[in-house]
Symmetry: C2
Subunit: 207 residues, 2 copies
């Protein structure tokens, strides 16, 4: 038996991550599994793996429709965001690192994705960040200074190294004792893997 824990690697700016952000709590809680929220720089690992999503025209077009359908099926509010890509300087992601160290990454993540996908504000924008951080009872200037420090820049790189070491190449990804699952559509499998102590999930289709 391994630990009943999921490392949840995700990027501020990934719409598929949003689906997991809205779902992981309940699924993990019901399965008795704990979750570590771990922002990382997906751009680095995508570039390393020769994955250039934005140039894959048909795939990007499909992505928006697919997320729209799946959000609706889960009762999660979603429309294609007018702002994408977002967080050009990775500031929203680095604030995620600060928040993870401070134990408030989950509410910060949910508030950030809400501001981006529901209120259509840019991630990493100082105004957006100030609003989100104030709402969480944080001092925006203090947090943003910390997010811009060399230490936090290095920590985001360390977390990205950790993701890479598990074979992660996209967001969201879930790691359970070294076993990696990619994509919101694998969230249930990752939870089952953690809850069952690494057994393959029960057959869902019989032949």
């Amino acid at each position: 038996m391994g630990q009943k824990q999921i490392d949840f690697f995700y990027f501020f700016g990934s719409c598929y991550a949003y689906l997991s952000i809205m779902r992981i709590d309940k699924l993990a809680r019901e399965a008795g599994v704990s979750v570590r929220w771990r922002p990382f720089n997906v751009r680095t690992v995508m570039a390393e793996n020769n994955i250039a999503l934005r140039t894959q025209t048909a795939k990007v077009k499909y992505m928006w429709r697919d997320i729209e359908r799946r959000a609706a099926s889960h009762g999660i509010p979603f429309v294609q965001p007018p702002i994408w890509p977002t967080d050009p300087d990775l500031l929203a992601n680095r604030v995620g690192i600060v928040a993870a160290e401070g134990g408030w990454c989950e509410p910060y993540t949910k508030a950030s994705f809400h501001s981006w996908l529901i209120k259509h504000e840019a991630l990493g924008d100082p105004g957006t960040l100030t609003s989100v951080l104030t709402q969480l009872g944080k001092d925006p200037n203090e947090v943003i200074d910390e997010a811009n420090s060399d230490r936090t820049i290095a920590k985001l790189a360390t977390e990205t190294d950790a993701a890479r070491s598990f074979g992660v190449f996209g967001s969201p990804s879930f790691v359970v004792d070294g076993e990696m699952f990619w994509g919101d559509d694998r969230l249930e499998e990752a939870v089952a893997w953690a809850a069952s102590g690494h057994k393959l999930q029960e057959p869902r289709v019989t032949h």
Copy 2:
């Protein structure tokens, strides 16, 4: 209400297609949905979309493990094939076109994937094809001649054009009245879409 029919676009040489090949019959039958088996040239649409799977090292490594896990969860026999990629000259795919026109595409497809993934024979190899076609009661020479004719070459291109026109960029893909679903993990959604007359599937998670 649209037609309760799924266009199943797939490629001889796609392992994710194998999972759908082994599952689509039962799922569609239970939902009262008919299936059109439509081989197409996924290499063309992947190249057009700047998708070069073989150079995405981490993604390919993940793919084998992901298929292994999902095959096990569905009770489908699978090990990573020693031969991949396969069907270099698209002959197995063009025989699929001949088989689709003759109404025997489904048994030909299942027998071909069995020869490749269970018996570890190369797709498109004359010996493999002769064995598969003989088993289906077909004259191998006659079928292979037809598969190599200009007419069949043109028909594979036409089917690939049809897939592209629906936004298809990978294998397997499912199209229901113009709505496209990509990947074996979307098979249930495509079947539900066809069965329900295009309504979004019922929520599976409540919040």
